[in-house]
């Protein structure tokens, strides 16, 4: 009988710890996952290099927006630990100026949007989430496509006959996201399952596990439709 009381007592303690100290779990998982923290200066220099690379590709249909003047650098606390969804928790929340719908960038590339805010934390649904769907344009001719998220994001709903080449840049064209944010590049095209549209695989030049610091475009307000 005393064993049951002990188990019950330990369970209550565990519930209290889980409620009052959720950060301990973040810290433990961070230690197991490993990975170095990227400094803000490294991030800015890499962003400038990426912009130069894209400019050299002579993408004529749009201009890359300037590096957002009002962007907040945030650190990633933890990642969604289960399958299919892909969410990040960052260390800034409503009291730090975060709002639902604000875009998040990594190395100047669109990663996702804030979907929930707490006082000093916020969750971001990334493009690696199976639920993520964004209208995008591809390459110099701005071919319309739909980016579908998941472990391997891919493009669908590309018109048959539209020419897209391997390596063509993919950029945002959704009303809920600033226009022209770089997302990735076309890897390989293929015929769609229905035969009515083309599809293609996508190259994203980073892995979700590499993300330790993000830029949140705090000045951007998603237009209400």
């Amino acid at each position: 009988m005393s064993g049951k009381y002990l188990l019950g007592f330990l369970t209550v303690i565990a519930v209290l710890l889980a409620a009052l100290q959720p950060g301990f779990g973040f810290w433990v998982r961070e230690g197991i996952q490993g990975g170095a923290t990227v400094s803000a200066d490294e991030l800015r220099s890499e962003n400038a290099a990426l912009k130069a690379q894209l400019a050299r590709r002579e993408i004529a249909q749009y201009q890359l927006p300037d590096f957002p003047k009002k962007a907040t650098l945030v650190e990633v606390y933890s990642r969604y630990p289960f399958g299919l969804k892909s969410e990040l928790l960052v260390n800034a929340g409503e009291k730090d100026g975060m709002r639902v719908g604000q875009p998040a960038l990594f190395h100047g590339m669109f990663v996702g949007v804030i979907t929930r805010v707490f006082d000093h934390a916020a969750t971001i649904e990334t493009i690696f989430d199976a639920r993520a769907k964004y209208a995008v344009r591809v390459g110099k001719k701005g071919v319309d496509a739909l980016l579908e998220g998941g472990n391997e994001p891919h493009l669908t709903l590309i018109a048959n006959g539209a020419e897209i080449e391997s390596g063509a840049a993919i950029y945002s064209a959704a009303p809920s996201v600033p226009y022209g944010l770089a997302i990735g590049a076309v890897k390989e095209g293929r015929a769609g399952r229905s035969g009515l549209f083309q599809e293609s695989t996508v190259t994203i030049p980073y892995g979700i596990g590499e993300i330790r610091v993000l830029e949140i475009m705090t000045e951007y307000a998603s237009p209400s439709l």
Binding site: P22, V28, S78, E87, L89, I208
Partner: protein, 144 residues
């Protein structure tokens, strides 16, 4: 109980280290808790579930996934006498229904589009459940 804790720690390390990388360890902890619920009593599995939820919760709030991580194994433990004498039948019924319930409740929208990634995750969850059978059978034998 110590063996159960050890199995949970292994599952936790696999899920945190390799989950999300396509190896199929995304639900290792859930499957392990469901498997252990077939041999542990309600208090024991509740304690393990709450500790697992504490370490796996990725946000300050409470989510459906974290509640399910605790409640599904508790439910399995309460119902484990349903197939007396048919341990493996009860075991696989618990794994299939528990994992299925997880996906349906955690995000029903995902279930409306059966993607190859979803099929792979579920299949690999069952493979992990097969791996857990051996230690679970040993625990079941020792607890008699």
């Amino acid at each position: 109980m110590l063996a159960a804790v050890f199995l949970c720690v292994i599952a936790f390390l696999l899920q945190v280290r390799f989950g999300g990388s396509g190896f199929g360890f995304e639900n290792t902890v859930l499957v392990t808790l469901i498997a252990l619920a077939c041999v542990l009593d309600v208090l024991q599995i509740t304690l393990l579930g709450v500790i697992a939820a504490w370490f796996l919760n990725w946000q300050p709030g409470v989510s459906a996934e974290i509640v399910l991580l605790v409640m599904i194994p508790v439910l399995v433990s309460l119902l484990k006498g349903t197939f007396p004498g048919l341990f493996l039948v009860g075991y696989w019924a618990a794994v299939i229904l528990g994992v299925g319930l997880w996906y349906v409740v955690a995000d029903f929208r995902i279930m409306t589009e059966v993607s190859p990634a979803l099929v792979r995750e579920i299949a690999l969850s069952f493979i992990w459940a097969s791996v857990c059978i051996v230690p679970i059978r040993i625990l079941a034998r020792d607890s008699r």
